[in-house]
Symmetry: C2
Amino acid sequence: MTEPATALAAETRELVLTRLIDAPPAKVYRAWTEPELLKQWFAPLPYTVPFAELDVRPGGVFHTVIRSPDGADFGGRGVYLDVVPGEKLVFTDVYEPGWHPVEKPFMTAIVTFEDEGGKTRYTARARHFTVEDRLRHEEMGFHEGWGKATDQLEALAKTL
Amino acid sequence: MTEPATALAAETRELVLTRLIDAPPAKVYRAWTEPELLKQWFAPLPYTVPFAELDVRPGGVFHTVIRSPDGADFGGRGVYLDVVPGEKLVFTDVYEPGWHPVEKPFMTAIVTFEDEGGKTRYTARARHFTVEDRLRHEEMGFHEGWGKATDQLEALAKTL
């Protein structure tokens, strides 16, 4: 088997954001899993989230609509692959609900919430099939977009 | 949303084998989920299966090695996505264990075991990302290979 080579190749196809959030994991996890909370932070303002459906279990739908300042809607739909309540969420656009592969899959997200003295070591990973997809995601503004959204996530979690 | 179009497009990317197997679902399911049993039927003779590791839970590894009559080994590794004991198995080569997307994913398999008067309505679906991949899988001998293996599966399940 070629574990190390695979792992190395995988690294170059991954984008990572990590942050120490000043709220406990349970609250950050709530903000990720309750639709009415997710809608308040998931898109970096002035983008908004008018719709969110989150069926938080393996195979359940993860569906959000992000609205741009000029009113254009961008739907994102996929499924959860793995859920460890309070600790980890894995979801992807590879499948429509019912395990139907889509024609152009893009990414798989892994979000972990670890307790660090009452705060949350928050890590969000976006894994891609190719290096090209990873670069495209960076160019689309992964770091800035997810960074701003994470500011909003932290601000919200502190109020819960 | 474009559900109907998506479903239609998905159909053309799917290969299906269905069969009424003369053994109850519990036995056919055992033959799919116990490595020592799977090794006895999973490759159509004269191909053999010298190795099988089956961690039958979402995210768990599905790993088999198929050996050709002239001794060449073909590894197949992926993960389970969904497991309904006795009823349904979903697994794919899209991910290595740990939710690492591979660079060239090929298929997702959905196998269902339904009771039909003490026999098993057995359905195995192979879903692909593209019509090209589905055609390639057909040309690789999906129907003949899976058909012969299913004969072997039935013969084994009847002895359990």
